[in-house]
Symmetry: none
Subunit: 214 residues, 4 copies
DNA sequence: AATGAATGAGAGTTCATTCAT
DNA sequence: AATGAATGAACTCTCATTCAT
């Protein structure tokens, strides 16, 4: 019985988060009112405050919830069991698909962090994503499939790139050029990991020379 | 005298934009009040409305102003006259330096677009940046220094990556790890353009050596 | 309990209308602030907006409320059961008495209509008054006590006259000459319906007699 | 030259009044800004304040200006030289025509008086109208064409009626039913002065005869 | 636990008025 | 006399938060 209540609490909490996620994504943080979230979640305004202390906490939790979904998608064993060369494409296609399905949910990343506690939570949530990417990168390095490099930093920077491409694709361009943006993003990552570099052509060696000369 | 007035008007408008830029960057859009901007600009509240129709217009203009500064920095002839291999590093160092100087100004990119007019203005402003990068990329392709590719799309995606790295660096990490983030970002771009890809495991040692040598 | 709530809501709404009516009458529409109305009604500013969408709606409702009181007073069976010759006096005395009691409430008619919806509401409310007068006039015509004429138009024009006399009496003259204005207004209407016309100089004495007899 | 300046001043003052009259009539008092009036009058905002102390003074003067035009129209010798029986129709037709030409200028009477000084000025202005009517009524009484009555009070009440009919006609009904409202208003006044009263039911035919005989 | 009516601080915005030029 | 940029008080309206039920 306690468990049932527990579940009831959790489902109501989750309903609020999902309603919030949806409305925040559509309207942005400031334009969303608690009344709207409550109505969409099928509860009263006061009830929202039983589960969250204030509006920002709802936002933070919703944002983290969405980030966790991304991280979970990236940890999909079906992706990680692929040959290394196919993983970048699989990961990027996965996040594009996720955003495509939850079309305007990208804007959920747009609110700036205000308290250090929030920062901590956001870091943890983003860490789940970059951690997933990092885990993959590290494993490939360890197995000798990739040369050693700062995997965590690369994971962060590359996820930043993908994230920014997703934002451009689904927020700025509103879904137009999805194919082109996705494919070019994949191309960049694949080229970075598996080459050849753009400069290659026939003169790849000589470029090397020039760089060495610097 | 007309010129003085003209200058006076422009300086007052500029003072408001600069005050706004500063406070928006510090506090975020919603947390910033017109009264604060007016006070910081040394004018009365009503005066702000002589130069801007509403709060969002101030934000948009301030944001564009900042974007233009970035674009201008990237168009610096001293960068473009460098050997191709040195340009990515020069560009990335430039924007990192600009953000370092205007520390918390990165967050100015964070507000989502609300009207199609705003979208148009933001596109133009961002287009100035990606256009600068694109111009460089195209010229290198045309001169045969780089193999052909979708330069505009690459410019957008890569600027997205750098921008997201800047945000991570100056907003999330508040300046910590600046060196590491900057260097890894440069490394990724250089590797992409001038290789070798990370996967070329057998040459691992030499790459390391080269990097250490730089 | 539902009834209590219902009553509570209605009483609060009514309290706001009454407070508004009072302050609008004293100060005029534009000079009245929501804060004043809220204070006078004993509620918070926000509460006012729970019952009305905006300031004009408060005004419109208050204005209609007052018009309805007038209409109700004119429909008093005690008036309508009087002999026809006594009805005009009774009606005019009634509205003068009502305005006397709610001294400065006349000015509530002074704001011009702005939306077609408002126009519709005002027409309905004023229609309640002129309708009451018209109903009386029509019944007298139907019973042959008055010759046929455009009863609705007469009702409107004559109510306009009385209303304007009330405004002159209670707004412009601030209650002075109440007796004289009222009596002359009654005299005009009685003369119009039951004559003789002013021009019939020879019957002057008999008119006096008839009036004295009432 | 001083005279020229004097004329210049007067013409500029008059230009402001006329611009104000027009815009007040169209938009109402509060919705009209000094900037609009200045623009319409072809002067700078500051200039308006050279001729009027504040916004209400402009309104008051404009309102008085319009009232004076009405009064002047009613004092037209062509009206006063008519046979007594034709004067009411002539006067009412005159004011309807004036309002028809300056269609929405009726609403200029709608703002309530706020200071006793304003009250005084409005009384004087309205006195010019009712005085004109009163003068006519008195002269007819003195010449024995009408029986004695409180001419001033009648003038006020009847002008109130006509004014209210004008408001109904041009503000509420926006010009519809102009003919019907005007004719019924005339009929009421003619009946009042020259009879017979409506109550003379069985004698309807003879009423017509009497009216034709006037 | 759940409700939703009530709150009231605080925001953006307007515009009559001023005054240095 | 004429200007119009600058002012800032004051307004309406919103909505996160509370709390009696």
């Amino acid at each position: 019985m306690a468990e049932v209540t527990q579940e009831g609490i959790q489902s109501k909490r989750q309903a609020i988060i999902e309603a919030a996620l949806d409305i925040f994504a559509k309207q942005g943080y400031e334009e969303t009112t608690i009344a709207q979230i409550a109505a969409a979640a099928g509860v009263a305004v006061g009830t929202v405050y039983l589960y969250f202390h204030n509006k920002r906490e709802i936002y933070t939790q919703a944002s983290i919830d969405w980030t966790k979904r991304m991280a979970a998608a990236l940890r999909d064993p079906r992706i990680l069991s692929l040959p290394v060369q196919q993983v970048p494409r699989a990961m990027i296609e996965t996040v594009f698909r996720l955003c495509h399905q939850n079309s305007n949910m990208m804007s959920i990343f747009q609110v700036d962090i205000q308290s250090s506690e929030e920062l901590q939570q956001h870091r943890e949530a983003e860490g789940a994503i970059t951690g997933a990417v990092d885990a993959f990168l590290r494993s490939t390095v360890e197995s000798g499939q990739l040369a050693p490099f700062d995997t965590m930093m690369y994971a962060k920077i590359l996820f930043g790139m993908v994230h920014s491409a997703l934002f451009e694709c689904f927020c700025v361009q509103e879904g137009r050029f999805e194919e082109a943006i996705q494919e070019n993003t994949i191309e960049i990552v694949e080229r970075l990991f598996f080459g050849p570099p753009i400069a290659s052509g026939q003169r790849k060696a000589s470029i090397r020379d020039e760089r060495d000369a610097l």
